[in-house]
């Protein structure tokens, strides 16, 4: 192994190598190793380079968060929920739609770094951190909504189970209580899961920084030296997490779907909602990863070394698969509801497809099914980052439309036509929704300059395990099982 790595290193230094090997290296980050110190420098440079434009963006988004999110929310708290567009019978609107959207986005990190880790999908390595950050920040943005949508947010803590002067424990039969527990669990565990693999990289940053940064990294590196014991317990912990966080992830979006599915609302009361929501969440999460990778690659220094076309290609295939899976679940849900023939459900389905807001429904199908299916089978498309950026944005638009269809549009057409209503989102609601988007971007902007966005040690570990092997007349990548 070491010999392989050595020869590769040497090979990199000597200009004359076979074209095939060069192409393989150009293609695969894992086959294109770089000395660790250079890689460290690249990551450190990406992390510490702050231009004027960067600060303009940071301040811009900071102000946007303050105004759009906290300003609008404060106004709503002071005035009343009425400034949102919800009404009888549509008691949940954009707040819950965006909530589900963010929870969906948050499936990205866990999926990429846990499931792909468990199944040893090696191409995950450079962007696990970027994806995990999405999970944490997506959850942070999403977790605001259960608070935002409360009529009396100042007493939100009544949902928290603790011995209190009211002598009252919360109702553990409520799906919202499950939500609280599941989101808390997921937020905590995904934050930890972000943090654990970060420790060696923080130690790396500690070793090459001074001043406040040094203090910050030193504190959070927990005295990491890289001893065998430390690596062992880290590996054990990551191993536990990788397996345990997957069911948690499934449970979170299942419980979010149960918010709807346990209800008696026609169109909600469906047993397939759990997996249907999970697949949708992964579809939207993986898409969002691509979106973010494109932006990182464009804006962050040295990222074109770490993030390559192979990653867009691989994620593109995943999106195509999940788009198909989503279509399968959607059709399954639709067909059986339709076939079941319950008048109210049928009416809801008909109104989705033919009512005044049918465009939302078609937008969902176009973005979630038509566009991935039409484009993502094509390798050229998958390897064109800007196209992937647009497609993945559209997939998330489609997923937003899906949640919009499921929540306000379904609620608006329930069993009694006398009570039917049209939901018009107000500026306050849209502002808060955009505000959390700004919050997400704002946090990401800060994090991109605060923590190493590439898990250097994982990349190096991967690179050490990979080599090019000559098989017959051609050269192929090969992986050595190191663990």
């Amino acid at each position: 192994m070491a010999a392989d790595a050595k020869s590769l290193l040497n090979g990199r230094k000597t200009a004359h190598v076979e074209t095939e090997a060069e192409e393989l290296r150009k293609e695969h980050l894992m086959l294109d190793p770089m000395p660790r110190d250079e890689m460290n420098d690249m990551v450190m440079e990406a992390m510490t380079t702050t231009t004027k434009t960067y600060w303009v963006w940071v301040i811009g988004f900071g102000i946007a968060v303050a105004v759009l999110l906290f300003g609008a929310w404060g106004y709503m708290i002071a005035t009343g929920m009425g400034v949102a567009g919800i009404r009888r019978p549509i008691y949940w609107g954009i707040f819950i739609v965006t909530f589900v959207f963010w929870i969906g986005i948050s499936h990205a990190g866990t999926f990429v770094s846990a499931i792909l880790r468990v199944f040893k999908a090696e191409f995950r390595r450079p962007f696990t951190r970027a994806a995990e950050l999405m999970t944490t920040f997506g959850l942070a943005a999403g977790a605001i909504y259960p608070l935002v949508h409360l009529g009396r947010v100042w007493v939100f803590y009544w949902m928290i189970p603790y011995p209190n002067a009211r002598w009252l424990w919360p109702n553990f039969r409520s799906a919202l209580e499950w939500d609280l527990l599941a989101i808390t669990t997921y937020l905590l565990s995904s934050t930890i899961y972000l943090f654990l693999p970060l420790i060696p990289d923080l130690a790396m940053a500690r070793d090459r920084s001074t001043g406040i940064r040094h203090f910050f990294y030193k504190t959070f590196a927990l005295g990491w030296r890289g001893t065998e014991a430390e690596w062992t317990r880290l590996r054990k912990a990551i191993g536990i997490f990788a397996f345990a966080i997957i069911p948690v992830m499934f449970s979170v979006h299942t419980i979010v779907s149960w918010d709807f599915a346990v209800g008696q609302v026609a169109g909600w009361h469906s047993t397939i909602f759990g997996p249907y929501f999970i697949i949708g969440a992964i579809l939207s999460g993986v898409s969002a990863v691509v979106t973010i990778l494109y932006v990182l690659r464009k804006t962050l220094k040295n990222m074109d070394y770490f993030i390559r076309l192979e990653h867009f290609d691989g994620l593109g295939k995943l999106i195509l698969i999940f788009s198909m899976a989503w279509a399968y679940f959607f059709f399954n849900e639709y067909l059986l509801s339709w076939y079941g023939g319950e008048a109210a459900v049928k009416q809801v389905l008909t109104l989705h497809a033919t009512g005044p807001t049918a465009w939302v429904w078609y937008l969902m199908l176009i973005c979630n099914v038509a566009i991935p299916w039409l484009f993502l089978w094509n390798k050229k498309v998958r390897r064109t980052p800007w196209l992937m950026f647009i497609i993945t944005l559209l997939v998330n638009v489609g997923m937003y439309a899906e949640r919009y269809t499921i929540i306000p549009l379904t609620l608006g057409h329930q069993r009694s036509p006398f009570d039917w209503g049209i939901y018009n989102p107000t500026i306050v609601e849209v502002s808060i929704a955009l505000g959390t988007l700004c919050l997400f971007i704002f946090l990401y902007l800060l994090a991109s300059r605060a923590i190493p966005l590439v898990p250097v040690w994982e990349v190096q570990e991967g690179q050490m395990a990979h080599s090019i092997r000559k098989v017959g007349k051609t050269e192929v990548p090969s992986v050595t099982e190191l663990e």
Binding site: A2, D37, W169, G223, I240, E483
Partner: protein, 175 residues
Amino acid sequence: MDTSIRLILFKEDQINQASDAIETLHNQGIHDKDISVISGVPFTEKMLGRPMAWTRVPLIAISGAVVGFIIASLLNFLTPNLYKMYVGGMPLTPIPTSIVVTFELTMLGLLIATFLGVFVEMISPSYGPKGYHPKISDGYIGILFSCPAHIEEKTCLELQDLGAEMVDPEEVKQP
């Protein structure tokens, strides 16, 4: 006995030499407990011919899960009886809904405990020689050992033959 702590470094691709170095140290009569291998990437103990590292993280994790399970059971089956409230024709402590809560809290306990395990073990005193060098995070494999003064020179020479980079003891300090 007078000992000093020395650190030698190998480049990341010198893993074979590093394992040889450890063997050399063993031959010099330095026990595994007086040797620490520190590295920028994980290597398994087997690669370096070292004993398995000791960790209690899995045990702590399981204990956390048990605590979570107990808390969940109390919330599920005790709290509804403290102040009885009937909703929607459901029994006071329905099993199906309690499974959800039990699952979430058990997992929460497990995951938090895992982290706490790592955290506590990290900040706890550890065995073996202490010391660090920033080059570790540049991919170097470091071998820290406490060497009795009388064999220090000899050992160092042997290690240098293996290609080890000797670090000035002055530079070896905790991060």
